[in-house]
């Protein structure tokens, strides 16, 4: 009963709950993968610039979970944890700057709708 992935691959509910109760590396990677995809989706499809920024945050946090999971389950050291703290700090700085950019964009274009900011062409 050593399945790595849940239901869609032929598991019963009981097997599923059993899989859920013993968290391993795969679980965390799965979650970070899902988060990453959602984040990318948000970046590519949201109209509002702030929503794009949120997508960026999601991507960053997905990366963080990845770091932590590998740190916990592969090496026993705290390398990944420390790196995750770096990422959080950088994400905070980057969010501040990104918001500053959005503010400037609003002042120039009078809107935060990314579809309207289409001047990057000839």
């Amino acid at each position: 009963m050593n399945h790595s992935l849940p239901v869609e691959f032929g598991m019963t509910v009981a097997q599923f709950s059993q899989w859920l109760q013993t968290p391993g590396l795969h679980h965390f990677l799965l979650i970070s993968g899902v988060l990453f995809s959602l984040g990318v989706f948000a970046i590519l499809t949201r109209r509002n610039a702030i929503m794009v920024l949120m997508g960026i945050e999601l991507v960053l946090n997905a990366a963080n979970i990845n770091f932590l999971a590998f740190s916990r389950y592969t090496t026993g050291t705290l390398d990944g944890h420390v790196f995750a703290i770096f990422v959080i700090i950088l994400a905070a700085a980057e969010a501040a700057i990104a918001l500053a950019i959005v503010l400037n964009v609003y002042q120039n274009f009078n809107s935060v709708n990314v579809d309207e900011i289409n001047q990057l062409k000839d």
Binding site: V40, L44, T45, Q119, L120, D122
Partner: protein, 753 residues
């Protein structure tokens, strides 16, 4: 002293003047006294060496020839010729050893004399450098054992002569004379060159001894005796040019434009003697016909020059014609077979003729000084009619000059008497053997004339009264640097240096050292052998001596009677023989004759060549240039703009197209083609012709404009079109761009892992 040592000394003595030349020509302005003492010192050192070499040669190796050769360049196996190499070298035999001393004695004392004579000259240092290169070249002629080095040195002495005659080149007559000397020499050299080529072609070597040995073994040029005679006469042509024989004697009187020491060195004692030396060197290969030709030329030259000399009034011109005449004597002597006599006369003549020129230089120097003192710039310092009575003011010059004159006139107890006597005996022997009596008749006549004009010169210059009393007061003897050489040469005019017997040279050391070389030509064409000749000379010797004393005495007597005792009036003789006198005074009009024929002919040829070059050759060049210019425009543009003749262009291109078509068609047609194939190739040819005509029509310009530019424009249009297509990707929205980025990353990860 071994052979090697002698050869080494010879090489050193050969190269010393070259060293002097090299030092002086580059550094003369920076050296003290412009380097004259360095040059003179080197030459005197060479003189000492040459005397040592002669002494050793005469003492230890009297009958040997010491040679040293080396292969300068080897061409390996030349197709159609065989192995070809150029071997050069030096030889020391009695002939070259004696000539070496002669050249050095004259050169050294002329150097010394020049220190006095050329004092203050505008190109003093360069003059000495040129004397050095001349001495070096002359020694090259003397010491070499092969025709090649002799020819090279031959040309070099010609060059040195040119440089020295034209020393005062600002004067047009001097530079003209230099060119005349060089060109006339060159004419003779052409003959010599052809002769050398005939010999090289036959014997594949330049070395004298090798050639003579091969001839002795039976090889002769082209297997024909006529060619052998021709080769001998052609080589003699070089001597005709260099030794101022008829008909190439015209350069020597003009060469008197050079400084007098130059005249003494080159045009009296050494360079002009080189021709005689050449005949002496190549004597074994001369056939009887060649020798007859040589003797005839010599006699004619001696006669013509002597008749001119009796009328000349410029002291140097008298001496110049005297030189030509005496050279004729030497050549004649060699031609009749009196080999040793001819060469002996060369050596004695070198001494007294050099002395005569130096003496005349002394007189001219003094006259210049006196005229300058009197502020007279018009009177000719060299005209003997302006001289007279210089005997008391210039005693050394006078007495030495007198000794030289006695020598040249053939008065007993002088060296000149010995050599002249032997030549005269030789001519009588020759006439006895061959019946050609004109040779001795001319020889004795010339002897009389020689005595006459030389004493005329002495009397008019030194004896009698000088016209201008003030002028004669300012005349004084020349400095010691000039009188010492005069004395040295006068001493060398005594008989004792050449033979201890005052009336016969045959027992002297010169005769013993230079026996007549054996002829190597086939017996059928050889001249009378040495023994036969000696016999005949022996018979004629006493008669020759009596006759020579007679004619010399006669000449001297007439000279004194006319100019000293004034019993015969020279003026009236000149007037009465009017046309004859003028003919002789004008040098037999040789220069005018040559001007009208050779010079005018050459100028005519050059005019024709110029017409050909300007019109025909330039026409072709310009025509092809304009056709190419038309090519850039193309026929159509040519027709429109007409800057180049369109019809000319079309005609040429039409012809060219047809030719190209013909080349292609005929070139590609195989030999055994059927009628159908032939027609096919013909059509192909016409097609190509048409195509090439079209291309010519369009012209290079058209080709460039339409085709090349067309390609470029098409490429640009294509790029633009593709660019417009790709433009639509640009939406301007960042998110669109991000999609492409992420797609790209995915592709990278999944495809290229």
């Amino acid at each position: 002293m071994s052979h090697e040592t002698i050869l080494q000394l010879t090489v050193i003595s050969y190269l010393l003047p070259l060293l002097g030349f090299t030092i002086l020509i580059f550094l003369n302005k920076r050296l003290p006294r412009q380097g004259d003492l360095i040059e003179t010192g080197l030459v005197f050192l060479g003189l000492a060496l040459s005397v040592v070499i002669l002494a050793v040669k005469m003492g230890s190796y009297h009958d040997e020839t010491i040679q040293g050769s080396f292969t300068w360049v080897s061409f390996g196996n030349v197709p159609g010729f065989g192995p070809m190499a150029m071997t050069l070298g030096l030889m020391v035999d009695n002939l070259s050893a004696i000539m070496l001393v002669v050249v050095y004695v004259v050169s050294a004392f002329v150097h010394l004399y020049s220190i006095g004579y050329m004092h203050g000259d505008v190109r003093y240092g360069r003059y000495f450098a040129y004397l050095g290169i001349f001495t070096f070249s002359m020694l090259g002629i003397v010491l070499t054992n092969n025709f090649f080095m002799m020819y090279v040195s031959w040309e070099l002495v010609g060059l040195s002569s040119y440089l020295l005659i034209g020393h005062w080149f600002e004067k047009k007559s001097a530079s003209d004379a230099a060119m005349k000397a060089f060109i006339v020499n060159r004419i003779g050299d052409v003959g010599m060159f052809i002769g050398i080529l005939i010999l090289f072609g036959t014997f594949h070597t330049f070395t004298f001894d090798t050639i003579f040995e091969a001839m002795k073994a039976g090889t002769i040029p082209f297997g024909s005796e006529a060619w052998l005679t021709a080769a001998g006469i052609l080589v003699f042509c070089g001597a005709v040019g260099k030794s101022a024989q008829f008909p190439l004697h015209v350069w020597l009187p003009d060469a008197m434009e050079g400084p007098t020491p130059v005249s003494a060195l080159i045009h009296a004692a050494t360079m002009v003697a080189a021709g005689v030396y050449l005949i002496a060197r190549t004597f074994p290969m001369m056939t009887a016909d060649a020798l007859m030709y040589i003797a005839a030329i010599g006699a004619i030259t001696a006669f013509i020059a002597a008749t001119i000399a009796i009328t000349q009034n410029d002291v140097k011109k008298v001496l110049a014609y005297s030189t030509i005449s005496q050279l004729g004597y030497m050549v004649m002597g060699l031609g009749v077979g009196a080999y040793t006599a001819g060469f002996l006369h060369l050596t004695t003549h070198a001494m007294f003729k050099a002395g005569l020129f130096l003496g005349s230089g002394s007189v001219i120097h003094a006259m210049h000084h006196a005229l300058h003192h009197a502020g007279d710039h018009h009177t000719d310092a060299q005209d003997i009619r302006n001289m007279g009575g210089l005997r008391t003011k210039m005693p050394i010059t006078f007495w030495t000059f007198l000794i030289y004159t006695l020598a040249i006139s053939g008065v007993p107890l002088t060296s000149g008497f010995l050599s002249k006597d032997e030549i005269l005996a030789g001519t009588l022997a020759y006439a006895n053997l061959t019946g050609r009596w004109y040779v001795p008749i001319i020889a004795f006549l010339v002897a009389a004339l020689t005595a006459f004009y030389m004493f005329r010169l002495v009397i008019l210059t030194f004896l009698g009264e000088h016209k201008d009393h003030h002028r004669v007061e300012a005349i004084h003897e020349s400095p010691r640097t000039m009188t010492i050489p005069l004395i040295v040469f006068a001493v060398l005019c005594l008989f004792a240096f050449f033979s201890l017997n005052p009336i016969g040279a045959a027992s002297g050391w010169v005769y013993k050292a230079l026996p007549r070389p054996e002829s190597v030509v086939p017996a059928a064409v050889a001249a009378a052998g040495a023994e036969q000749f000696e016999e005949a000379v022996h018979h004629s010797h006493s008669l020759a001596m009596v006759l020579s004393l007679l004619v010399a005495g006669l000449g001297i007597l007439v000279a004194f009677a006319t100019y000293y005792w004034k019993k015969i009036d020279a003026e009236s003789v000149a007037v009465k023989s009017g046309p004859l006198y003028r003919f002789l005074l004008n040098k037999w009009k040789f220069d005018e004759l040559y001007d009208a024929t050779a010079v005018a002919g050459t100028i005519g040829v050059s005019k024709v060549s110029r017409w050909f070059d300007n019109n025909i050759i330039d026409g072709v060049v310009n025509g092809s240039a304009s056709w190419v210019k038309g090519l850039t425009l193309g026929t159509k543009k040519n027709w429109d703009e007409g800057s180049v003749s369109a019809i000319f262009y079309m005609v040429v291109t039409g012809a060219l197209s047809l030719y190209i078509g013909w080349l292609v068609g005929v070139g590609m047609m195989p030999m055994d083609a059927s009628i159908g194939a032939i027609i096919g190739y013909v059509i192909l040819g016409f097609a190509v012709a048409g195509l090439s005509f079209f291309l010519f029509y369009v012209g290079v310009g058209g080709f460039d404009n339409h085709i090349v530019d067309g390609l470029v424009n098409a490429t640009a249009y294509l790029a633009g079109f593709l660019g417009l297509l790709a433009r639509r990707i640009q939406t301007g929205r960042v998110q669109t761009y991000l999609v492409f980025v992420i797609l790209g990353v995915l592709v990278l990860f999944l495809w290229f892992r």
